[in-house]
Amino acid sequence: MNLTLKVWRQEGPNASGHFATYQASDVKDEMSFLEMLDVVNENLIEEGQEPITFDSDCREGICGTCSLMINGQAHGPQKGTTTCQLHMRKFHDGQTVTIEPFRAAAFPIVRDLMIDRSAFDAIIRAGGYITADTGAPRDANEIPVPKPAADTAMDAAACIGCGACVAACPNSAGQLFTSAKLAHLNLLPQGQSERWKRTEDMVETMEMFFGSCTNYGECQEACPKEIPIDFIALMNRDYLKAKFKNRKLLGQQV
């Protein structure tokens, strides 16, 4: 198939950007979207034009490096799929495809389609961990975790930190990302000691970078790992509780 690509080009963080039009010809169904861009780039290099800068690494949907707004949708049209796992059979001959970076004030553009998502690292730094210095902890099976809790924690922990939730949100809110990490850690018995402080610190760091959540729900639609907004409700509940919880009583069974 042949496609017309409208691609966002921007030389640097402070340069003004523009759309450039390229033809992608002889695109095969079995190519991934990024392989299609690889071929476009090889042709650009042969023509003496600088290739399009875009992020990608594992190309199997787990590292969270790839991004892209494809025809206005974060990671393109296929549900539950990262751009690297999107295949060209989802497009048709003659189609015009618009490719932009994830756009959010918290994700400044580095060059072309490459963005800076270090705001996510700042949220994790604020409390996205369970303190357990390397040493001799107790035997793993001394901490039983009820299966439903373990499974739900894992549902949340599946987040790959790609930023699609932010890109899809009209407010550029970071709630889905933050709540997924909070749910992972707050649902586990190991995560209880730091639960309230973690919740406050992460939420307040998030608010330094990202917009507010007004329950559009676009984030869960765009999420390549299909993480549900239920976790946002859990986060809001914990944040409220964190504000009046007497932390000296944390050792008590509630």
């Binding site: 190519m31 090889e42 800068t53 594992c58 999107l86 961990y129 099976n141 373990a150 599946a158």
Partner: protein, 643 residues
């Protein structure tokens, strides 16, 4: 460095294998808690080994500077590991023990690993599970709330801990979170988008590194008392592999050029269950977890000109070749064996799929026996992934799979302390050669990365630092750094000034074809000789005709790539030379000339029971081979039999 100064002293302790690590830990020197902050340690790479080491060293009180070329430490390729991590907990009461994991690993590695290292690995595997659970890694649980285990990759016991099909992701996030906590506490200085481009030595001792900031293009020196390379394997030498696009050999290769010996480069692991190549544009191969072999049956048609779809081929026309050749292990035969068996049937012309380049992995029998629900609960995410890529539903049509490059057992030579032949320079995780011999068992890569990072290097690095008290690191104004920086800048300008016609990717692809054809799943003398003449010829063309546009200031992905490809050229040549020198078959290294009558790998313990460690010479001069003899006091070498 002259040959005389190289000693391959493994520093492995003697005595009862069970006490070696404990005794060694006691013998090592300690650094007073208030002195630890006087030492700077550079950690390059933030995968399991790097993130674990950086976090742990910082917790101990050392000043850590940590580097990754990714935009966040969480993106390192450890994240893509699917199946699980081994731990000799014997929770299942099925006869597992530290000694059994040790034994299985030595045997699985085809008796080409150091016993002392392997035993230590098995020993700390138990601590790793405890540590990860304490961090909140959401391992799979049983209904009672205790940890679940499964049998994996041909093990006869259930010792593999897992988090759905995303074990690597969860373990890496655990280590990453521990690392970020140390960053928040100011004990780790984190440098993302920063790529190592040279290792700097002064008087033969590692002084630090030179990096390039991938966003601004700035070239900069960093000095430290010790430097840890945790930069992963070199599977992308094949171009097509299951490694991530940016995995490369540059850090360890540049260390090699500065005097670190490179061990066993020809030991590469070809994973049996990947999706076959579909076209020439393919950029990487996708692994389908080995756990699928627990319930899937592998077969090809008996007839060479079979044209019926899989579901219409009757039982009597199918060849379940693994079950036929290895009745005891069947579809769960170890990776090297399963891979070679697939190559045999595809080479015979019995491959399946449009390009006849795969074999079937069939779930119809298990769906019939267990029901579709059970099979889907176990493998649903893998079925979805397969369908996204191939547009075929594995519940209706068997999967098509074929082996692909996946892991490299070779790497920088290290002693028992994980130190390379350059004092002060360490290699951890897949970047070193130490624990897997000639073949790695499933679910052991995560174990080794975390063992090195959490439980080995933090002790051994301290022992080295204790002797340096009062010494300042070499200043980054020292001529050794200034020259290295200039070298890096000159190199970048040289690539850009070539102004050829083809992209770095083009040459990487061509190189990969040579390495795969001649140094892939089966190697022979003629092919290797051919590769050793063709690789330098292609290298010469690459040096004259590669095209890198743009400038070294700011983001330039072609410039990042071209240096990595240049290093793959050097390494590809060394892989072939190593494979040519090793006149035996062992593990992932299969020399066609050395096989038994029924086509199994034939080791030559009398002449090849050693580690090959190669010393870099001037460009154009072949490296020099050094040998570390392997001694087996506890596990007696025998032919691996899985029949």
């Amino acid at each position: 460095m002259s040959t005389a100064t190289i000693s391959l002293d493994s520093k492995a302790p003697s005595g009862d294998i069970k006490d070696r690590w404990d005794n060694h830990r006691f013998d090592m020197k300690l650094v007073n808690p208030s002195n630890k902050r006087k030492f700077t340690v550079l950690v390059v790479g933030t995968g399991l080994a790097g993130a674990a080491a950086a976090a742990t060293l910082a917790q101990l009180g050392y000043q850590v500077k940590c580097f990754t070329f990714h935009d966040s430490p969480r993106r390192a390729h450890s994240i893509a590991a699917q199946g699980g991590i081994n731990g000799a907990k014997n929770y299942k009461n099925d006869g597992d023990s530290i000694y059994r994991l040790f034994y299985d690993t030595v045997k699985g590695g085809d008796f080409r690993a150091r016993e002392s290292n392997v035993y230590r690995l098995a020993q700390v595997s138990v601590d790793i599970i405890d540590q990860c659970v304490a961090q909140g890694v959401p391992f799979a649980r049983e209904y009672g709330g205790l940890l679940d285990n499964r049998s994996f990759g041909g093990a006869q016991v259930s010792r593999t801990f897992y988090a759905r099909g995303q074990t690597g992701q969860q373990l890496l996030l655990g280590a990453y979170q521990a690392l970020m906590q140390q960053v928040a506490l100011g004990r780790v200085e984190m440098h993302t988008k920063t790529e190592l481009l040279d290792v700097v030595t002064k008087d033969g001792v590692c002084a630090g590194i030179v990096t390039r900031d991938l966003a601004s293009g700035e070239v900069k020196s960093w000095s430290g008392h010790a430097t840890l390379l945790c930069t992963g394997g070199y599977g992308n030498a094949f171009y097509l592999s299951t490694n991530a696009m940016n995995c490369n050999t540059t850090a360890i290769w540049r260390a090699h050029k500065k005097g670190a010996l490179f061990a066993n480069p020809c030991y590469t692991q070809i994973h049996p269950t990947c999706i076959p190549v579909s076209d020439e544009f393919q950029s990487k191969l996708t692994l389908m977890s080995e756990s699928l072999r627990n319930d899937g049956r592998i077969w090809v048609p008996k007839n060479f000109d079979e044209s019926r779809p899989a579901d219409q081929i009757p039982e009597e026309d199918r060849d379940y070749y693994l079950e036929r050749r290895y009745p005891a292990f069947g579809n769960l035969a170890p990776r090297d064996i399963a891979s070679r068996a697939a190559k045999v049937v595809v080479d015979e012309g019995r491959g399946v799929g449009p390009l006849k380049n795969g074999v079937y992995l069939d779930f119809s029998e298990s769906i019939g026996r267990l029901g579709a629900d059970v099979v889907f609960e176990r493998y649903g995410n893998l079925f979805d992934m397969y369908e996204r890529i191939t547009d075929e539903d594995p519940a209706k049509m068997p999967m098509r799979i074929y082996p692909a490059s996946h892991y490299t057992m070779g790497g920088l030579w290290v002693d028992y302390n994980l130190m390379t032949t350059v004092p002060g320079l360490y290699a951890l995780g897949e970047a070193n050669f130490s624990d897997h011999g000639a073949n790695r068992l499933g679910a052991s890569a995560l174990m080794q990365g975390l063992a090195d990072g959490y439980f080995v290097a933090p002790y051994t690095v301290g022992d080295y630092l204790a002797g340096m008290l009062g010494q300042k690191p070499v200043s980054t104004d020292d001529p050794v750094f200034v020259e290295a920086e200039q070298g890096v800048r000159n190199e970048m300008h040289r690539w850009i000034s070539i102004g050829g016609t083809k992209s770095p990717d083009y040459y990487h692809r061509e190189l990969g074809k040579l390495v795969w054809d001649y140094c892939g799943m089966a190697r022979d003398e003629n092919g290797l000789e051919k590769a050793l003449s063709e690789i330098p010829a292609l290298r010469e063309e690459f040096e004259k005709n590669v095209r890198v546009l743009g400038s070294p200031d700011g983001v330039n992905q072609s410039l990042e790539k071209v240096g990595r490809v240049a290093d793959f050229f050097d390494l590809g040549e060394l892989m072939c030379r190593d494979a040519l020198t090793r006149e035996e078959s062992c593990g992932g290294h299969f020399r066609v000339e050395h096989q038994t009558e029924d086509g199994e790998a034939q080791r030559d313990d009398e002449n090849f029971s050693f580690v090959s460690a190669w010393e870099w010479k001037e460009p154009g001069t072949p490296q020099e081979l050094h040998k570390e003899p392997l001694v087996f006091e506890f596990v007696k070498p025998a032919q691996r039999s899985y029949k």
